[in-house]
């Protein structure tokens, strides 16, 4: 583990050097019609990068693209261009944890490895960044994450004014930063302690058993009330950094067809529709129940940790501003009324 410290000018030089050998994606300001949103895009100009605000969408589209062309050789092996590795700069704790969730599902289990995802993920280097303060609707600390530092990223940045501290945790990346000046660990610890103070005041207290008890929650009667204003559109699943449902489709004409992988959403009514016409999740309340249970019950039962990272994207993007925090609060109240239910682990 090495710790380096540079000022903005030197970091810019480092960026320009890395640009030659790597594709670099970072949060930039995009004009989208009437809105101005901060999203991850491949960048050429260091000055375009936005460091101090939480991006409005996660880097999910870079490692798990919405429209993924898989070629036509029926092995599903995607052709990759240019052979360069990709660095995603400035990923916050919430999004790093989300990448961990995607890794758990697609590659960590030795039996089921998604080759397509693995190829892309192996060529991607995550460079995390520490959050300076709570922003937008995030509540990652309520769910047990640390917004100030995350262990899962191999390289981690701490920005303090115009200074960049770079912590390199994996040996294989150390040579990229070898020539930079050393950073003083004690000074950094001071800065981080002050930062942690800013997060002490939690916006949202929650006390629920993890994983949520499956039977009780499934048969609870709170889902209707919770989703009265839900439109059933699918925006939350598209901007959620951990949602990974996907669909395949083939396109082409006469003899040649090409395979594509695209995002799917459990909030669409056709998601669980059977060919017979029967639909086990034929109401918004049932589909939302499935979404919450997946994130807070099914995923922690099968893997480690929640599948919700408290980033708040679903809250900010929802057309009717439906708040997952209200949903979780209702769940907490329901379980307390039932006499403090046990965790569903047994």
């Amino acid at each position: 583990m090495i710790l380096k410290k540079v000022n903005k000018e030197n970091f810019k030089e480092l960026f320009n050097k890395l640009k030659a050998d790597y594709n670099i994606a970072a949060p930039v300001l995009m004009e989208k019609g009437k809105k101005e949103l901060i999203e991850y895009e491949y960048v050429d100009d260091f000055a375009d990068i936005i460091w101090d605000k939480q991006p409005d969408s996660s880097p999910k589209n870079i490692i798990f693209p919405q429209n993924n062309y898989l070629g036509n050789d029926f092995e599903g092996n995607a052709p990759y261009d240019d052979g360069k590795e990709t660095i995603i700069l400035g990923v916050r704790s919430c999004d790093i944890e989300a990448i961990k969730v995607l890794d758990q599902v697609f590659i960590e289990d030795d039996m089921y490895i998604d080759e397509n995802y693995k190829k892309r993920r192996d060529k991607t280097i995550i460079v995390g960044i520490s959050c300076p303060e709570r922003q937008n609707s995030c509540f990652c600390d309520t769910l047990g994450l640390d917004p100030v530092e995350s262990d899962y990223a191999p390289i981690y940045l701490f920005k303090d004014g115009d200074d960049f501290w770079i912590k390199v945790k994996e040996e294989k990346y150390e040579n990229l930063f070898a020539e930079l000046p050393e950073g003083d660990q004690t000074k950094l610890t001071e800065i981080l302690e002050k930062r942690r103070d800013k997060f002490k005041e939690s916006s949202f207290e929650l006390d629920i058993p993890i994983p949520l008890p499956e039977k009780e929650m499934f048969e609870a009667d709170i889902w209707q009330e919770m989703t009265e204003n839900c439109l059933g559109c699918g925006v939350c699943t598209y901007y959620c950094p951990t949602c990974y449902c996907f669909n395949f489709f083939w396109e082409g004409a006469d003899g040649e067809s090409e395979k594509y992988k695209s995002w799917d959403s459990c909030m669409f009514s056709s998601y669980s529709a059977h060919a017979s016409g029967h639909n086990p999740r034929d109401g918004k309340d049932k589909r939302y129940r499935n979404r919450i249970m997946h994130k807070f019950s099914y995923h922690p039962l099968n893997y480690e940790g929640l599948a919700c990272v408290g980033c708040g994207r679903c809250i900010d993007r929802c057309p009717v501003n439906l708040d997952i925090r209200e949903a979780l609060k209702m769940t907490e109240q329901y379980l307390n009324e039932k006499g403090g239910a046990e965790s569903g682990k047994d």
């Binding site: 082409g252 004409a253 040649e256």
Partner: protein
């Protein structure tokens, strides 16, 4: 490189069974010459014409469309074409607003005895579409044309 060929549009044509298709048939049996660019699809009545069929025709590479039915008031099904008339006006407005040149959209009425008129209508439609050139698709990607085959270039 061979000499440049003149652009020959492909016009997706929808004709109602009872009037316009009969008109086309009459034009054929009377040996009236008209441009061979139309690709005819017979429908029972223009009232059956779903606007989506026209949008789909453009997606499949048609450079223009031609829809012809019985004259209003003479529909074999009494009022099918009267409903269709409103639908076509709205579709016309929509597609022109979206940037489709108005020369590509051709709506008309042709009765079963108007073989000559049908030939004239086809001639007019083909000339109109020739003026605006090949259709590049809603996304501008174009359709490659090889040996009469229409092939969508895959991304």
């Amino acid at each position: 490189m061979s000499e440049t060929q003149e652009f020959e549009p492909k016009i997706a044509t929808f004709l109602c069974t009872w009037c316009s298709y009969a008109a086309a048939d009459l034009a054929g049996s009377s040996r009236i010459q008209y441009p061979p660019n139309i690709r005819v699809m017979r429908v029972p009545c223009t009232g059956r014409m779903d606007p989506f069929l026209i949008i789909k025709a453009f997606n499949e590479g048609a450079d223009g469309i031609l829809v012809s039915g019985c004259h209003p008031g003479d529909c074999h099904f009494l009022d099918g074409n009267l409903y269709a008339r409103r639908r076509f006006v709205m579709l016309n407005e929509l597609l022109q607003y979206a940037g489709v040149e108005k020369e590509r959209l051709n709506f008309t009425w042709c009765s079963a005895s108007e073989g000559k008129r049908f030939a004239g209508v086809v001639e007019k439609a083909v000339n109109r579409v020739k003026k605006v050139g090949p259709w590049e698709g809603f996304d501008g990607q174009g359709f490659s044309r090889e040996e009469g085959e229409l092939v969508r270039e895959q991304l």
